[in-house]
Structure formats: structure tokens, C-alpha cells
Amino acid sequence: MYEKEKDLVDAFVRGTISRRSLIKSLGALGVTAGTAGMLVNMATTNAMAADFDWMKHKGTKLKLLLNKHPYADAMIANIENFKKLTGIEVAYDIFPEDVYFDKVTAALSSKSTEYDAFMSGAYMTWTYGPAGWIDDLNQYIKDPAKTNPMYAFGDFLPGVIKSCAWNGVPGGALGSADAKQWCIPLAYEQNNLTYNKRIFDANKLKVPKNIDELLDTAKAAKAVMKDGYGIGVRGSRSWATIHPGFLSGYSNFEQKDLNKDAKGKLTAAMNTPVSKEYHKKWVKMIQESGAPDWSTHTWYQVGTDVGAGKSAMMFDADILGYFMNGEGNKEAGNLAFSGFSANPAAKAPTPNIWIWAMAMSSFSKQKDATWYFLQWVTGPEHDLFGAQKMNLVNPARASVWADGAFRDKMTKSYAGYVEMHDTSAPGASIKFTPQPLFFDLTTEWASTLQKMVAKEVPVDEGLDKLAESVNKQLADAGL
């Protein structure tokens, strides 16, 4: 690097000049924006090395288990910087999502020492944590000898980082004072509305603001869609049908999945009058305006249908809309985003979230070195790199959301995305009650929803039966 460029980049990393001044000055020196980004990333790596003994575990070899995902792509794209910073070698196995969690369960339940760290959803840690398969990361985070001073743990969005922490007590509040930090977020998804602006504008449809408007707009959209349908939501017989749009709307009415009594016992809470009313509207919406093969729809079909213009909107993960708005999709550039409060009386959206996070295997033989990797990959520098240069969206750190370049990138190509995020983020968190039967109960909930949509069981009766079954399972499990 030439000295002038180097001095400029170092000054930026120290914070003595702004990003705008840096780009302007580098431009005057003939450096392109892409090269400038690379120089900043390299300089940041050097700056990090100055404050902390990153080379302490030089020569160690780590192995990761990763899911095939843009978040993993961002990690791999930046991994050379980690190797250079620490001298630690990193290998990884990467699997498609269909088989990924089976692979994780098989590796952890067999106490395999092959993998040191792995990608995990926060919900999965409710199984892995109590089973003794993953480490509480607080022991590393709170140890200044092991955690670099620039890690900025307090920079994580509160709802997101707390959703990765649980005390292991069934029904215990996420992020409580005695909670164990089972994982640290890479990035996360809020569930909001993604709609096709082209279809909405052409047919003078208004963006719905609550559940009743959602039903009306979806029905109106279906009426004008040739060979398409009004709204995409998930419907497969899986827990994954419950957690996105469905639970986000449900929790906006302050409804819960389970209640906890004074003795700590859990009971079903999904057959209240408000819940029944919400279920009736949700079922009606799918019957009137949903996909004809809704009961087989996973995130993939929901996303690709909105990207292909087959559905007018979807109430699902915002990042699905983000990816479907990118090149290679028929409706690229036509998708827009809006925060969604199902409850007309609610002040703001309260989306349930999905988090892709990193967790440490309890069977790792080199935990300190593994922590070095985890703090790097969840650190502010990598999060910023991923958000700016790759598709690490939604970043889990407040500082990245405050970054001008990232906001500019999002505002330029993704109409309403930043506003949607800013409106929803304060209320965004996991809305489920953490407990060991999470997957059993939510899969049964999805199965009941399928029966309701197929008119095999009336909503009231279906929810009462579901609550009865849930209570029995909770009692059998001693919860």
C-alpha cells in the first residue's frame, strides 16, 4: 500500500476523519470504492491486532459446521482476515438447510469432537443447552483476558442478543439476569410485509395496516392476479410454519403460546377468545387468498412465489424479500417493505424473529481458540463487512444499522426496508416460551392449522383439542 493511502485509511480507522472524507480523498488518489473497502478492512484487522493478543492460539486448527446460507458466505469471504489476524487455521463442512440440523443433532448427541463451533438457530439452543452439548459463552464474554476490548457486547440489538440467552428453566424469561448465553447472533430476520409495488400500484391496492386490512387486501389482490394468489405464508407440517408471520401477528395481540403459573407449571394459552378470533381470521385469509398448495409451502415457496410475481405479498421473513428483490428474480426491484401490526390497537409491530447464531460445542478440545473465532465472526468489524459488502442482512449490531454506507445501500435498492427495520426492531424478539417441548408443540400447532384450513375441524374445537393435547404433553414431561 502506498503511504498516502495507508495514512488516510489508518486515520479513518482511528476515527479522525469521516467515511465521506476518506472516500473523497482516496478517489482523488485514484482508488476505486471497492479497493477502498478492502483497504479499510485490512487496516481494521491491523488495528484490532494492536489492542489484543490475537496471536495467542497461533497454529491451532478449528473446524466449523455451517449451513449453506448467505451468512456463511459472508463468513467464508472474510475468513482470510481472521487467519491473518490470529494464525489460526479454519476448516469447515457446509450442508444445505434440509439436512443441516440433522447433522448438528447427530454430531452433538454422539459427543463428537470433530466440530468446535457451529451455526445454530436460537430455538435449537433450547435443546442443545439443557442437553449439555453447548457452552455458556458468558464465561468468555465476561473474561477480559479472553475477549478483545473492541468486541462491544453491548452493541447487539437488545431483543436479538437476549433471545439467545436462557437460564434453562422451562418458561424462564429470555435474557434474564441468570440467563446463559448459549449463542451469539450473526444476523437475524424480522417477520413483516414484503409486497409487490408494481402489482399494488397497478391495481391501486393500499399497504395493509392491520389483520382486517390484510385479509381485504389479500382478497382484492387475488381477484386481480392471473394464475397467482394474494398472500404467501408458510403452511407445511412443521414448527417453521408457526414462527414467522403467524406468530408475529399473534403476539401483536399480546397472545402467548404458554402460561406459567405461580408454581412454575406451564399450560397451553392458545385457546383464549382473542386467540380463537385471530386464528379464524388467519385461516380465512389462507382459504380465500392463500396459495392453493399452502399446506406444502416452506420459506422457499413463499419467497420464490413473491419473487416470481405469483403472489402479491408475503407476511414472512424480511430477508426473504431482500433476497427476492435482488438480481435473477422476475420481480427484482419491484418489491417493497412495510412493518406490520396485526392488532389495530398496537402502537408498533412486534415481530417474532429467527436468529442465525454461532454456538460452541461442549466437546471442542480447543475452546479458547474457538472463542477467538466466535468473537471475531460476531464482532463489529465482520458484521459491518458482511452488511456492506456481502448479504449479512439483518445485521444484529446497532452500530451497523447506524452506519451511513449500509443505510445508503439499503435505501437505494430496497424501498422501505430501513424504515421497516427501525420501526420494528424495538419490539422484535423471540415470542415463544422457551421450554424443551418447543418443536413437539409447534409442529402439532402447525398440523392443527392445516386441519382448520382444510375444514376438517372448526377453529374453536381445533384449538381446544390442541390445548388439551399440549397440557397433557407438558404434564407428561413434568413441565
Partner: protein, 311 residues
């Protein structure tokens, strides 16, 4: 020590060495089979042990022997009875339809000719497709938006035929995929059987001018029965253990319309981490398969004896 043993062995007379090897030879020869047997029995008895425990990976502290509780709980568990009903229905439907179709095709292709040989090879193509891939292919063909089969049913005046996503037609759809994949398997077995039948009874019937229908019922079918039983045995065992087609197409839904044993056990283990219930389900499936195998093999042996004129 090893050297002294080796020295002792060298001093033995050739006759004594031969006696030793004669004594150990049977054990040595059966060792591979014994090792294979142990390799099979260890996982089997591990599953038996798990099925007798309250064992949920997410609640390790609650793990304990509960002996037959997992099995007893099935009696009052409506989802278990539904699983049993769905599994048996699926197995009966697929085996009966495939057997009838395969018999018809085999009879059509019985005569050796270039065309028949070519067609019989072509008909084997679905069998070479992995069932999970076949299921995904059919999922695309039945997609209401762009699936070719959905297009055909629309042309035939059924615009709301939603294949696997409709509880009314879900079983029909997965049975259809199974029939597409596995009918060639039965067909090839029956075709081989038909072509290996002795010609004399057929020649005698032709000389006497016996009607074809009578020949089929009184000569062909009885002589072909051992082959049909063999094919049924294989297919019934495999069909009652169905997983890939159903899981790839519907994950056991809509509702609990297609929650066969393997799907239920898989979800219990990998999703709910309820190892005890999952293992108990698999043990019941094993018992069902064992019962079916015995039933078919006994009948197959009886028919074979009868065919040899020894019954």
C-alpha cells in the same frame, strides 16, 4: 511370551497342527457371519433399550428406565393409532395396486420380442430414480401453478385438484408416486417368473383347446403365485417402512393424514429429540415387519412344496 508360543507351535507334529486347524476351522469360517450378526444386533438391542426408557435429549436429567411405559402410552394415544392406520392403509394400497398393474404389464410383455424387451427395459427407468428425487419431481409436476399434471386435471375440468396439499387427495398422490416408482420392480420379478414357467402344461392346454381365461386362472396364476408372494413380501416390508416419498412431498401432512411410522419416528427423534418414543415406534414397526415376513415366508414355502407335488 509370543516367541515361546511360536517355538512350541514349530515343535508340533504336522498331524497335531492339522487337528488344531480342523477344530478351529468351522469357527473361523463362521466368524464373518458372526461379526455381521453382532453388528446388526448391537444397534437393535440399543434401540430396544432406548424404547424402554424415558429418554429425551433436551431433558437429560429426566432420563430413566420406564420399562414398558412408552408402549403402554400408545394404547391411549390417538396419534399412534392414526400412524398405524395410515401405515397399513398405505402398504395395502400400494402393494395391491402395484401387484395388479405389474401382473398385467408382465402378461403383456411375456412373449420374447425386440419390442417387448425394449419396453421392459424402459419400464425399469423409474426404479433407477431415488424415491426422494421421484417425490420432488412429482411435487413439481403437481404444482398448481406450473405443474404439467395440474394443467391436465384443469383441462379435464378439475381446477381445484390440489394433489398432496389437499387432505382428500394426499394419500392418492403419494400412492401414485409409489406406484410409479415400484411397479417396475414387481413387474420384472413376475416377468422373470412367467418366462421361466414350464411350457408343457400350456402346450397341453393349447392342444385340448382350453380357453385362455381358464388357462390363466387354473395354470398361469397358481404356478406364478410363489413369484407373486415373493414380490409382495419385498414390497409389503418396504412399503410399511415408507419414509422418503411421504416426507419429501408432505412431511406427513396435511394435518396428520400421512404420518406413517418412519415419518413419526424421524420427527420424534430429530425434531423433538424424544429418543424413547421414537425407538418404541421403531420397535413396533419392526414387530409388524417381522410378523409380515413370517406370514409371507411360511406361505411361500407351503406353495413351493405344493408346486413340487410334495404337499
Amino acid at each position: 511370551m509370543a516367541q515361546s508360543l511360536s517355538a512350541m507351535f514349530d515343535k508340533m507334529t504336522p498331524q497335531f497342527k492339522f487337528k488344531i486347524s480342523r477344530r478351529w476351522l468351522p469357527y473361523l469360517l463362521s466368524l464373518p457371519a458372526l461379526l455381521t450378526c453382532i453388528g446388526i444386533l448391537i444397534p437393535f438391542f440399543t434401540a430396544v433399550a432406548y424404547s424402554l426408557q424415558r429418554f429425551r435429549l433436551s431433558q437429560p436429567a429426566g432420563r430413566r428406565w420406564n420399562w414398558g411405559e412408552n408402549y403402554l402410552a400408545f394404547f391411549n394415544d390417538s396419534s399412534f393409532w392414526n400412524t398405524l392406520k395410515v401405515s397399513v392403509t398405505y402398504a395395502v394400497l400400494t402393494v395391491v395396486i402395484e401387484l395388479l398393474l405389474a401382473l398385467g404389464i408382465a402378461l403383456l410383455l411375456q412373449k420374447r420380442s425386440r419390442v417387448n424387451n425394449f419396453v421392459s427395459i424402459m419400464l425399469l427407468m423409474p426404479l433407477m430414480t431415488a424415491p426422494a428425487l421421484a417425490a420432488l419431481m412429482w411435487k413439481l409436476m403437481t404444482n398448481p401453478g406450473f405443474g404439467i399434471l395440474s394443467y391436465f386435471v384443469k383441462v379435464l375440468g378439475m381446477p381445484n385438484f390440489n394433489w398432496a396439499s389437499d387432505p382428500q387427495t394426499a394419500m392418492f398422490t403419494v400412492v401414485l408416486v409409489d406406484v410409479w416408482v415400484y411397479t417396475p420392480f414387481i413387474m420384472i420379478l413376475l416377468l422373470a417368473g412367467l418366462r421361466s414357467l414350464p411350457p408343457q402344461p400350456f402346450e397341453a392346454a393349447a392342444l385340448d383347446g382350453v380357453p385362455r381365461w381358464f388357462v390363466f386362472w387354473r395354470i398361469t396364476l397358481p404356478m406364478l403365485t410363489p413369484y407373486m408372494l415373493t414380490a409382495t413380501l419385498f414390497r409389503a416390508i418396504e412399503s410399511i417402512q415408507q419414509f422418503d416419498i411421504i416426507y419429501a412431498m408432505t412431511q406427513g401432512g396435511p394435518g396428520d393424514r400421512l404420518t406413517v411410522f418412519q415419518v413419526e419416528a424421524y420427527l420424534n427423534f430429530f425434531q423433538s429429540t424424544n429418543v424413547g418414543r421414537s425407538a418404541a415406534l421403531m420397535m413396533i414397526l419392526w414387530a409388524l415387519t417381522y410378523f409380515l415376513s413370517n406370514l409371507f415366508i411360511k406361505n411361500w414355502l407351503r406353495l413351493r412344496e405344493r408346486a413340487r407335488g410334495e404337499a
